[in-house]
């Protein structure tokens, strides 16, 4: 019985091809645009998250107790061996990375500025942190003790370049002021303003020597399963006790979390608005197609259809149009995302300066299957909601009584 209704609905759609095509095109293009928009926004968030988080830490970060409040060497992470031993019992941990960070003054012959010096294990960090992929000039390596990498904005300010010399002036853990010359071996561009404008990187061992401490300030942890982020953090905190503070990356960068949530609501609102507009158009089309056929529906009811069955035909018509629109729209949407996922979207056409906000100039929108869930739900809801009112009107018109009076 239902298949009969489906066939009828299909033929009715085919009867007015232009209108059907227009409706489907309207739905499809809206969905394509929304998917693109969603991918684009997600691309920005993902890029910002990656650039910000992965230039500074990994999934979970351990600090000495008061270090987050006061970034002083006295609050550094001590008894590293004890911590590592504890961590070695946890099989949820994949890798750990050590960093030592402290203030310094950097100077070229033309300019000087206060910065953060970060000592790191370059080989170990290579695959998990992003610095190795963000070398603008030079190489990702410390060929000797006095090699230094600096952010590209800082390099510009200092008027310096690869192989040029700079002087770092620091106060070590004993309070001594020490100055030492370094040679630039890499210039880094991460889109993380903190890194690009006010950071310099040297090897961990050199940093420990420079600041005269055997320890580190931050221990970053990479875990196996992102879904267990929170849980692993809690376990680590329990294991190593409260001489240390353990944070997930989400806790360390609350503004990213906020942006993600804000963007998601923004996308949701866009969907709702778009669907309200679409629904208005859709209701109009359904209404028109019903009004044209009042007599036809009347005949159908006269020969034995129940009103329910007539409604079912209208429902199938509506569902077929929106579902076809959904299929075409999401296919085009995924196609478009696939392309821009490869080529990237160049934001420079909107003007320069996005980097100030930590946004890269080229965005690579991701392609997530989940992008078609909301549209699917939306088209089903649309096709149900938008026939209710037209069908009510049809019902009131008593189609059966319109047969004899054309």
């Amino acid at each position: 019985m239902n298949s009969l209704m489906v066939i009828l609905a299909f033929r009715n759609l085919a009867r007015n091809r232009v209108r059907t095509t227009m409706v489907i095109a309207m739905i499809a293009s809206s969905l394509t645009l929304l998917m693109y928009f969603q991918g684009f926004m997600d691309g920005i968030i993902e890029q910002m998250t990656k650039d910000t988080v992965r230039s500074e830490t990994s999934d979970i970060t351990i600090y000495g107790k008061k270090y987050r409040k006061e970034k002083d060497l006295n609050n550094r992470l001590t008894h590293k061996k004890y911590v590592l031993k504890k961590l070695s019992y946890l099989d949820s941990i994949e890798e750990h990375f050590e960093r030592l960070e402290h203030d310094a003054m950097i100077a070229s012959p033309y300019y000087s500025q206060g910065i953060k010096v970060i000592g790191l294990e370059s080989e170990k960090e290579k695959d998990d942190f992003i610095l190795s992929t963000r070398i603008k000039e030079g190489d990702y390596s410390f060929p000797n003790e006095n090699a230094i990498w600096i952010g590209h904005a800082l390099a510009e300010k200092l008027g310096t370049g690869i192989q040029r010399k700079l002087v770092l002036t620091v106060q070590d853990s004993k309070g001594e002021i020490i100055g030492e010359a370094f040679r630039v071996t890499a210039i880094i561009q991460t889109n993380n303003p903190k890194i690009d404008r006010a950071s310099a990187f040297i090897s961990l061992t050199k940093a420990q020597a420079l600041f005269n401490v055997p320890d580190i300030t931050q221990l970053s942890i990479k875990i196996h399963d992102q879904k267990r982020l929170r849980e692993v953090r809690d376990t680590i905190q329990d294991e190593i006790g409260n001489h240390y503070e353990v944070f997930t990356w989400r806790q360390l960068f609350p503004s990213l979390q906020f942006m993600e949530t804000a963007t998601q609501s923004y996308i949701k609102i866009s969907y709702v608005i778009m669907f309200i507009i679409m629904m208005i158009g859709f209701v109009g089309v359904i209404m028109m197609s019903i009004m044209e056929r009042v007599r036809e529906f009347g005949i159908m009811m006269a020969i034995g259809h129940k009103f329910k069955q007539v409604s079912l035909i209208v429902f199938w018509e509506s569902l077929m149009m929106s579902f076809l629109g959904f299929l075409i729209g999401t296919t085009l949407g995924f196609g478009l995302l696939y392309i821009v996922n490869q080529t990237g979207v160049n934001l420079n056409i909107f003007g320069q300066g996005f980097e100030q906000f930590g946004i890269a100039s080229i965005i690579y929108p991701p392609m997530k299957i989940a992008y078609c869930f909301t549209p699917l739900l939306a088209v089903i809801i649309t096709s149900i909601l938008s026939i209710i009112w037209p069908l009510r009107i049809l019902y009131k018109l008593k189609p059966i009584q319109s047969i004899q009076f054309n």
Binding site: R11, R15, I299, A302, I303, G304, I400, Q401, Q404
Partner: protein, 228 residues
């Protein structure tokens, strides 16, 4: 045996703005199985209204209508559509057919609604199509047929489900008189062969001539009722 009995049936249309229209007034009518009945009368005399009452397309303001020993005046819409589907065949003046279905599908459709099995459906459709000489129209859609051809298919659709009663509202009004007469002869043959009861409204005198009984209406009342 009586197939339909109307006792004191009235229909009053009262619209919000206009005054009341008395479309039918105190109609008493009994039609027996196998009758071939013409209802005539001037325009506005209530022919269509009367057929609609009998077919359960509309309900009377007063009075009772008994169809096959069942009072249909009190039935709900779903029960009425069940009766229409199984017991009554309708032929309207024009545009009877579902435009997106072929002649064959239009006929088969009713049988599908009745949930009749495929083999039987096809056998019945073929049989009726042969009987009415519309074999060569079966693959055509209504828009590809002439008015006379469409009416033939409409008759075919009305009888394919073997209803006891067939109601036809000016079935020949849109046809030339020759085609109209052929169609009427056809209906008469069906009436005699299968004992199907036909009630049709018309103001065509050549159609009235072919009827076995003739009821004429005037201003919603039975003016004359005579068997021939």
């Amino acid at each position: 045996m009586s197939i339909i009995t109307l006792s004191s049936v009235s229909k009053i249309y009262s619209e919000k703005t206009a005054r009341k229209t008395v479309a039918l007034e105190n109609i008493n009518l009994e039609v027996n199985e196998g009758e071939f009945l013409a209802i005539s009368g001037p325009s506005g005399s209530g022919k269509t209204t009367l057929l609609n009452m009998i077919g359960g397309l509309d309900s009377p303001s007063n009075g009772r209508i008994i169809l096959n020993n069942k009072d249909i005046t009190t039935l709900k819409e779903n029960a009425l559509s069940h009766i229409r589907l199984h017991q009554i065949g309708f032929i309207f003046q024009a545009y009877n057919l579902i435009p997106v279905l072929t002649a064959l599908e239009n006929m088969e459709y009713i049988l599908m609604l009745q949930r009749i099995k495929k083999e039987e459906r096809q056998a019945r459709v073929k049989d009726v199509a042969f009987r009415l000489g519309i074999d060569d129209l079966l693959d055509k859609r209504p828009s590809e047929m002439s008015g006379g051809q469409q009416q033939r298919v409409a008759i075919a659709r009305a009888i394919v489900s073997k209803p006891k009663l067939i109601l036809a509202d000016e079935p020949t009004a849109n046809l030339d008189s020759k085609t109209g007469e052929i169609l009427l002869d056809l209906m008469r043959e069906l009436n005699e062969e299968h004992a199907m009861t036909f009630i049709f409204a018309t103001h065509d005198s050549s159609v009235i001539k072919k009827a076995k009984r003739h009821v004429s209406l005037l201003d919603g009342m039975v003016k004359d009722d005579q068997a021939k």
